[in-house]
């Protein structure tokens, strides 16, 4: 079993680009709340948050350079959580 975790060393620049992107997205999501989307504002906010989370996962947390198993596991966990939440709402939504 070899011990060097990733052969790939990510250059600093890339982190800075991603950071820039994340800050942009944050500002956008703040700006968007100023506009009244009504029903959809929750959705918009969550979609933006999910994009940010995906960026963090892929780049900051190195998923992009990691082995296959993790690349399957992580989305699987998020799907699981989503399913659980959907099922809980099968109750609350139809009460």
């Amino acid at each position: 079993m070899e011990n060097h975790t990733d052969a790939h060393i990510v250059p600093y620049k890339m982190y800075l680009y991603i950071l820039g992107g994340l800050i942009m997205l944050t500002l956008i999501s703040v700006a968007v709340t100023e506009i009244e989307f009504g029903e959809f504002s929750v959705l918009v906010a969550l979609v933006l948050a999910s994009i940010k989370a995906t960026l963090v996962l892929i780049y900051f947390m190195h998923l992009k350079f990691d082995n296959k198993i993790l690349q399957i596991m992580v989305p699987a966990i998020f799907i699981l959580v989503a399913l659980v939440i959907i099922i809980v709402f099968l109750d609350y939504n139809y009460r």
Binding site: I69, L83, L90, N93, Y94
Partner: protein
């Protein structure tokens, strides 16, 4: 290396000299085998406590009215009984004891991936257990909420709910650490040549269990923390007076606690899947089907929690979704049963104690599982929910399933763990008594439930008297059986005949190492070329 040749130059893991002496050599050992035994001793201690409480309940239920205790005591006793049996005995149960001891050996490794973490999880277990039981010695006494801690009663009662809840939280941590450890071990430490589908079935079930431990336990952790917040700061999460919703508590509780029942049963099924081929001298029927059904149970089992809440006032849509999913999760269990039975076809069966445990496991598991079907259907559940029928169901499947598998496993692996043989005749006597007592104890509860006796009842109306008395008598027979079994095993651990390497002719890797194994298990990591149960 030839089979059954005991090699005198090897030092068993029990006799190894370490930095510490005496007891400390055990409680600070990072050897997976010692940790397994530590778990065994501590779990059995709590288990016997739980048994005593169970017997006490049966005494009280012998006749209507007050027999031996007050309602306060009874309520506290079934709560403690439930908490001990679930959180302290069957959830850690097989993974922590046999998983720790045998997982590395069965996949050809020298230890688990994180030995120190492993030791820590045992310490957390002990800490959690002590915290949970500390309420016994406090003013106002142990909690009286039932092991489910349903809101809002759990923060209205003035008994000591907090220690039990915090204890359960710590125990959850211990369980998570074990799960992480096992998954990483299985991913990283399989011997060369052991592909996923060359892995024995017990490690496979531990793998499924590990995932449930990791993914379900945190939910109960956070739920219990919310109860703490609720009791200390009246945050109002589940208090209807503050806008909270008691049913949401039930959702969160069962999101964990239903998968938890599969944490209990999967390793039990794994142990049975080891015992049956060994004594049948035959490869297991449908290896892949069993593996897939294990993973299917683990996955689908995550989405059926609502079947504990059919009468709680959930929406209709949720009700029938959960009912349907519940039925689907029964299928993989059925597949396993069929495969086990088919393995016996054209086999050559050695009639030994572990095998009797395995066959009777299949029998009681079927009763437990099939009674689960009546609970899973909406109309019948409405009548049976929270009655003695449920109590019968889960004793058949939890204690019938896990208990029988545990006892089968300990008779199966005993020679390997202690390097000695037990008295085979006495082992079978114990099994017979146990089996008779068990059925006498719990079968009547099905009838009580169908005729309408609710559970958690200190007192009952006259017409329930008959079955209850039979049941109480059964509990004594069971107890005698247990005493015979424990006596036999304890005695043999010290005085039994020395055991050979492979007393049963098993094919998995643990039968290729010394009895008991050396500290490192293997001198050289074995190369695996064949499937796990190749009896050709």
């Amino acid at each position: 290396m030839t089979q059954n040749e005991s090699n005198q130059t090897h030092v068993s893991f029990r006799d190894v000299e370490t930095r510490f002496k005496g007891l400390f050599a055990w409680v600070f050992s990072t050897d997976h085998k010692r940790i397994g035994l530590l778990y065994l001793y501590s779990i059995v201690t709590f288990f016997l406590t739980g048994v005593a409480l169970g017997i006490a309940m049966k005494l009280e239920l012998m006749a209507p009215g007050r027999d031996v205790m007050d309602p306060e005591t009874y309520n506290a006793i079934f709560t403690l009984h439930g908490v001990i049996m679930i959180f302290l005995v069957v959830v850690p149960g097989l993974p922590a004891i046999f998983g720790n001891f045998f997982l590395p050996i069965m996949i050809g490794a020298k230890d688990v991936a994180f030995p120190k973490l492993n030791l820590m999880s045992w310490w957390l277990y002990v800490l959690g257990a002590l915290v949970a039981l500390s309420s016994l010695f406090m003013a106002d006494g142990p909690p009286d909420t039932g092991w489910t801690f349903y809101a809002p009663y759990s923060f209205k009662t003035n008994t000591n709910v907090l220690p039990a809840v915090i204890g359960a939280f710590i125990l959850g941590f211990s369980s998570i650490l074990t799960g992480i450890n096992f998954i990483v071990t299985i991913h990283r430490l399989r011997a060369p040549g052991m592909g996923w589908f060359k892995m024995p079935l017990f490690p496979w079930t531990l793998y499924g269990t590990g995932w449930i431990q990791i993914l379900a336990t945190p939910i109960v952790g956070i739920t219990l923390l919310m109860i703490v917040g609720e009791r200390l700061f009246s945050i109002g999460f589940f208090d209807p007076a503050l806008g909270g919703d008691p049913i949401l508590y039930q959702h969160l509780f069962w999101i964990y606690s239903h998968p938890a029942v599969y944490i209990m049963i999967l390793p039990a099924m794994g142990a049975i899947s080891e015992i049956i081929p060994t004594f049948a001298n035959k490869t297991i029927f449908g290896y892949k089907a069993i593996v897939i059904s294990t993973l299917a149970i683990a996955f689908v089992g995550y989405f059926v929690w609502g079947h504990h809440m059919f009468t709680s006032g959930m929406s209709g849509t949720a009700l029938y979704t959960f009912s349907l999913l519940t039925f689907l999760v029964a299928i993989p269990s059925a597949i396993k049963v069929f495969n086990w039975v088919s393995t016996l076809h054209k086999a050559s069966i050695q009639l030994e104690a572990p095998f009797f445990w395995a066959v009777s496991f299949v029998f009681v598991f079927m009763i437990g599982g099939l009674s689960g079907l009546a609970l899973g259907a909406l109309a019948t559940n409405v009548h049976l929910h929270d009655t003695a029928f449920v109590v019968a169901h889960f004793h058949y499947i939890v204690f019938g399933g896990v208990g029988f598998a545990f006892l089968g496993a300990i008779h199966y692996w005993f020679p390997k763990m202690w390097g000695r043989m037990y008295n085979k005749k006495r082992a079978i006597t114990g099994w017979v008594l146990f089996f008779i007592g068990f059925n006498t104890l719990y079968l009547p509860m099905f009838f009580l439930g169908i005729s309408g006796m609710p559970r958690r009842y200190y007192d009952y109306v006259e017409r329930f008297h008959g079955p209850n008395i039979v049941s109480t008598i059964g509990s004594w027979v069971l107890l005698i059986g247990l005493v015979v079994i424990i006596y036999n095993l304890v005695r043999s651990a010290k005085k039994g005949e020395p055991a050979v390497k492979n007393p049963w002719g098993g094919k998995t890797l643990e039968w290729t190492v010394d009895s008991p194994p050396t500290l490192e298990n293997f001198e050289d990591i074995p190369e695996v070329t064949k499937g796990p149960y190749d009896y050709r």
